[in-house]
């Protein structure tokens, strides 16, 4: 099956959101408040109006909290070309009233999250009596992990065109949910959704960012200000980096109790991270069902006493969903902790992982959770938590990667397995840690059980890409804030993995299932196991355990 736009894409004819051209169109770039909830205090636009090509300056009011997908407000420069608008924006003199988030600082916030997981939190899942089991354990292993905010950084920065004639609106925007965008634009304009047509051109990447249509609303509001004249809002890369809907930041704490024979008898996992819900409703400080179900309360380990507790976390940025969402931090921390325990117990990490997963069976968290369990929107009967399938991908990835083989000094294999989007994935990373901690990855083996596999080539390509996205977030990924504003700006300080650092050989092993095993997700599940498999490989190669992401210069 060929991709419809394949030839157009390779010949430059394909039209993306940034490429939409409408006759008579004006170009706009917007200076948005650097801090969430901020607004313009003073504005002097006289120099900007003198920039050749600049036609108008429009002040947009910020959406009040909860922000939902509303625009951030700011000052729009409308011009005859993108470049004139960019130059005009540079010439604006604005002072901002930063509001209550103006003192937000990622370092101090990290300390808050870490304090939250050191004390009892809201119980999210409970099996047996974890306190008693920990108190009477022969040995307790404790560890903490920290994973920062991430950003989608879609290759195409957001952009949208809107125009109105005779009361009918047309909007061209690269949005992941055109129907939702239409409703949100209608609400912002105060008109009926039926008066708007939203046409999505191709999306230059989405990963969750483009399900939020703030940029399309901006275009509509500016076009209305110009009486319906077509306006294209262009986000620069700096705009994209600084005004995103960020993947949450997470502190995780584990306490595992072992009996005298080194069998795990207690498992307490606390997690604190600002919730996506805070973008939509006031006062939300704990995860909701979707976040809980993303590889956390469904942890399928064969342990008699289990408790998950969430700590309180106040948001200071717009929290959004990013490819595989909360699975990123949960899979990374859980699978790192498993390997960390194995090392302390002198066991092989793959064998110990299988021991924790336990025998092939169906795990049913539904009666053990305090919030009704979310199974990716699927019925439990059709898509149960099947440890047999998790074991199978673990064993398959290990076998294909030659698990247990002797490697030279400074090299190592690491393994991780995770169920997400009702699909089972295990990854083995082979890492070489060279001079000054330079990481290279000669080979990755990923086994995926996505039920009946509809389109094997696309499954492969999703897993190939997910490995690199996993590597990027492990190696470089972090958005940090100082005085409430995002510190990163472009690909120079929010680095993405390039071809020369990406795994040289990515092997994808698809479990062959009959049609009777229903198909499941493939776009997201490849991401979560990569970072822990890499960190476990780094431990095998160097003895250094990565406790916080990104790896950055920790190996130098």
């Amino acid at each position: 099956m060929r991709i419809t736009d394949l030839v157009d894409i390779t010949t430059g004819k394909a039209i993306y959101g940034q490429d939409v051209m409408v006759p008579g169109m004006k170009f706009a770039v917007i200076a948005r408040p650097p801090v969430l909830g901020g607004k313009v205090a003073t504005l002097d636009s006289s120099a900007a109006m003198k920039v050749p090509g600049v036609e108008k300056i429009v002040t947009l009011s910020p959406t009040p909290a909860p922000y939902k997908f509303g625009p951030l407000g700011g000052v729009a420069v409308i011009a005859r070309s993108t470049w004139a608008a960019i130059k005009g924006r540079e010439a604006l003199k604005i002072t901002w009233d930063n509001g209550p988030n103006g003192s937000h600082d990622s370092k101090a916030y990290r300390a808050e999250l870490e304090a939250a997981v050191k004390k009892p939190g809201k119980v999210e899942r409970n099996v047996g009596d974890v306190d008693k089991a920990l108190a009477s354990a022969a040995k307790v292993i404790t560890a903490e992990y920290y994973a920062p905010h991430l950003h989608h950084a879609t290759m195409e920065p957001p952009a949208a065109v809107a125009r109105m004639s005779h009361g009918k609106w047309e909007v061209w925007a690269p949005v992941q949910s055109p129907g939702q965008a239409r409703d949100d634009i209608a609400a912002a304009l105060g008109i009926a959704p039926a008066e708007i047509t939203v046409q999505p051109p191709l999306l230059g990447g989405g990963f969750g960012r483009k399900s939020k249509c703030d940029f399309a609303i901006e275009a509509a509001l500016l076009s209305r200000d110009l009486g319906g004249t077509p306006v294209k809002v262009v986000w620069t890369r700096e705009d994209d980096m600084r005004h995103g809907f960020y993947h949450t930041v997470t502190a995780e704490r584990f306490e595992a109790g072992l009996d005298a024979s080194n069998k795990v008898v207690a498992w307490r996992h606390r997690s604190a991270s600002p919730t996506i819900l805070s973008t939509f409703a006031p006062g939300q400080k704990h995860p909701f069902d979707i976040e809980l179900g993303m590889g956390w309360v469904d942890t399928p380990f064969d342990v008699p006493n289990i408790r998950m507790e969430s700590g309180e976390a106040q948001n200071h940025v717009r929290i959004g969903w990013f490819r595989s969402v909360n699975n990123v931090a949960h899979a990374w921390s859980i699978q790192s902790f498993v390997a960390e325990m194995a090392a302390q117990l002198g066991k092989d990490p793959k064998d110990f992982l299988l021991e924790l997963i336990g025998p092939a069976r169906v795990v049913d968290p539904r009666k053990q959770v305090t919030t009704p369990w979310w199974n990716y929107g699927e019925p439990f009967e059709t898509y149960p938590v099947d440890t047999g399938r998790l074991r199978r991908v673990t064993e398959l990835a290990a076998k294909e990667a030659g698990w247990g083989k002797q490697l030279p000094k400074g090299q190592g294999l690491g393994i991780a397995a995770h169920r997400s989007f009702v699909t089972y994935v295990a990854t083995v990373v082979h890492v070489v840690v060279g001079d000054k901690g330079r990481i290279s990855i000669p080979r990755v083996d990923t086994a995926i059980d996505c039920g009946y596999c509809v389109h094997p080539e696309r499954v492969r390509s999703q897993i190939e890409g997910a490995a690199v996205m996993g590597l990027t977030l492990a190696k470089y990924g972090q958005i940090t804030l100082k005085n409430g504003a995002v510190e990163q700006s472009n690909f120079n300080d929010f680095q993405l993995v390039r071809i020369d650092e990406s795994p040289l050989d990515t092997r994808v092993h698809i479990v062959d299932n009959p049609l009777s095993v229903p198909p499941s997700g493939v776009g997201e599940p490849g991401v979560p196991p990569f970072a822990p498999a890499l960190c476990n490989a780094i431990f095998a190669a160097t003895g250094k355990r990565i406790k916080q992401l990104p790896i950055g210069d920790q190996l130098a």
Binding site: G12, Q18, S81, W83, T236, R237, I499
Partner: protein, 153 residues
């Protein structure tokens, strides 16, 4: 100010400031949107064009510096190497979202015009200025090797 430029063999007169990056002249003034905007600071390669046959990041190149230089964009590339690359790209299903691919194709054509049988190292060096957020790197590498074989045969 009126500036005369030659793009894909055609001469145009454009009314823009001299500091306008070539990228925005191509996209906004000439409507050649195959050349993409990704970063604006010569970091991602999405805006790669040829200037006198050599790859150039058009986002960081002011139009005033162009002089008599001849620009070729993804819409204007042709010839045996370009065809081999574009065919290899479709045969390997390289693109995911596709947004970076104009730039990838341009850089791959440039590489194969210089090096007929590139090694992995050659590919790394020639292609590491082109970011792909979807990370189609496995297929990009394979397609370059396929195209090289076609060009030999």
């Amino acid at each position: 100010m009126a500036i005369s430029i030659k793009v894909n063999g055609v001469r145009h007169s454009v009314d823009v400031d001299g500091d306008t990056p070539l990228l925005w002249v191509l996209r906004d003034a000439l409507g050649l949107t195959g050349t993409k905007f990704g970063c604006g600071i010569a970091q991602c390669g999405a805006c790669t064009v040829f200037l006198n046959g050599k790859p150039l990041r058009s986002c960081a190149f002011p139009i005033a510096a162009l002089g008599d230089g001849e620009v070729t964009t993804i819409e204007g590339v042709n010839g045996r190497t370009a065809r081999a690359v574009q065919r290899a790209w479709t045969a390997r299903d390289v693109p995911q979202c596709g947004y970076c691919q104009s730039g990838q194709v341009m850089s791959a054509i440039a590489l194969l015009s210089e090096v007929r049988r590139p090694t992995d190292r050659d590919i790394d060096l020639a292609m590491n200025g082109n970011i792909c957020r979807c990370a189609a790197y496995v297929r990009i590498r394979a397609a370059i090797k396929d195209a090289a074989r076609t060009l030999e045969g």
